[in-house]
Symmetry: C2
Subunit: 296 residues, 2 copies
């Protein structure tokens, strides 16, 4: 693994528009992919498309070295504005790289898909995270993972789904996981307008119960947050809102990682090739909450 | 250098009372010092007690490997509640360890003292930081440092003095430094009461101009902030206040490092022996702002 990307690459990343657009995604991955190709972004063994539920999107991939035993398990929940995205885009590092990163750190990696809006609305995302966790609790030991050491990480809309799960909106006890990492998520429902990404998922008249912040800050599940240096202001506000709410509830600031140089799309791509940006903190969080069984 | 302390040591640190007391300091350093003794906490060459001004407290130590040329320079400003503290406590790692850490990362390290309250009141701390920087601008090249690559780091009251310098209260242009790291500082003057640490420095009726937050968030000097997981609530509120003010001014959250496991006293002792806590982020910050001359 590489502690950090070359300075000129970070400078190029930082120079990209912070707005979330296909061009931003394409340019970000164009910068990062060569480093992932050099490092390798596939774990030695990938068991693909295991079914954790009845829907065609209820699928997950398990990434291992092959000889794990009672290893911590990192589950990655992709982003995509609630309406798109996949655990695996063939021929690209998205998101096998997360599984490979997990294996490099001694974990079992899991990448999962979930049902999408507008067909499936709140709280389907939280339910699917809960479904995947329940399936892993039953089955991950077969792949060398410890069912008591599952950490769930979500990115963007995936972070919102994980937060929703942690807040208890998935219809399952979230304390079955040892921790949750929320990367550039949103935690309060805005008034949604048609055309805004949340509209498809939360609908035109969001249920106030869909706000995750109150449940998050009261949750016993250990949490890590991150925000990218180049995240759009909306996500910066979400991060600052967590800090403020956390302070009022606990008298402390939460563990919030500022992902240097990266934007909304490139954050997850920092793993392995730019470890100082996020990977070091994420691995330390996982290690801390899985070393001695579950939790602190 | 060591990426992280053993988990049991972090657990012992985390178990200490978060209140700032002599017992907390003693227990924290008792846990950390053996690791510093093993790693070594003195740079190959230390030029001690160089005078940067007329007061007996206007002294600084320069830590080098001996062969530096045009290296970035890290200046460390100690804490001590405005009324105590020193750059060097003989026979302990405080704070030669900061110089040794700097040299390990390829920098010239500087540890400095400054005038103390109650004899010397606001803005004497900012003036002394300015004085040390001015002296280094003139003289650090002789020790292999680049006068255009000076980063100032302050801890606790030292962070407040550095913030005050950055906010322009030291009577000098702060943009002569390439960056400033503010570790567990306070940035707004509270109403002070006799017995509170700030009272001695700010006096019973603080000048509103002594608040550093407005100047900080408008400063062109690149800034890194940190708060310790086990900092008392007062410092947690200061960190959250910076996040909030920064968001309103810039639409982003600042680079704020959450120093895992550490308390107010142990944060600076994480350098070298627990790099993932603070050192990695601090080195990356220094590298970023000194690689291509000054600033971004």
């Amino acid at each position: 693994m590489t502690e950090q990307l070359p300075q000129d690459v970070i400078a190029q990343l930082r120079a990209l528009d912070s707005a979330i657009t296909p061009e931003q995604a394409q340019s970000s991955w164009a910068l990062l992919t060569p480093f992932h190709e050099k490092a390798g972004y596939t774990a030695p063994k990938i068991d693909r498309d295991l079914r954790y539920g009845d829907d065609p999107r209820h699928r997950l991939d398990v990434h291992t070295a092959g000889g794990e035993s009672n290893a911590p398990v990192l589950v990655f929940v992709h982003g995509g504005g609630f309406v798109r995205g996949d655990k695996h885009n063939p021929g690209t590092p998205q998101y096998d790289l997360v599984g490979a990163w997990a294996v490099r750190h001694g974990y079992v990696g899991v990448t999962m898909t979930y049902r999408l809006a507008p067909e499936h609305k709140w709280p389907s995302g939280a339910q699917d995270v809960a479904g995947a966790v329940a399936w892993l609790r039953q089955n991950v030991a077969r792949y060398g993972g410890d069912p008591d050491k599952i950490v769930v990480a979500g990115n963007s809309a995936g972070a919102t789904h994980v937060a929703s799960f942690v807040a208890g909106q998935g219809g399952a006890d979230p304390s079955t996981v040892a921790g949750a990492a929320l990367l550039s998520g949103i935690y309060e429902v805005r008034t949604t307008r048609p055309g805004e990404p949340e509209h498809a998922y939360y609908g035109p008249d969001p249920d106030p119960a869909s706000a995750t912040l109150p449940g998050l800050i009261d949750s016993p599940v250990p949490l890590l947050f991150s925000v990218a240096e180049r995240d759009p202001e909306f996500f910066q506000r979400a991060a600052a809102g967590v800090v403020s709410a956390w302070l009022e509830r606990h008298g402390t600031v939460p563990d919030l990682v500022w992902v240097e140089g990266h934007n909304h799309m490139s954050t997850i791509g920092s793993l392995t090739v730019d470890e100082a940006a996020l990977g070091t903190a994420l691995a330390r969080f996982i290690d801390r909450h899985t070393t001695n069984g579950k939790g602190e």
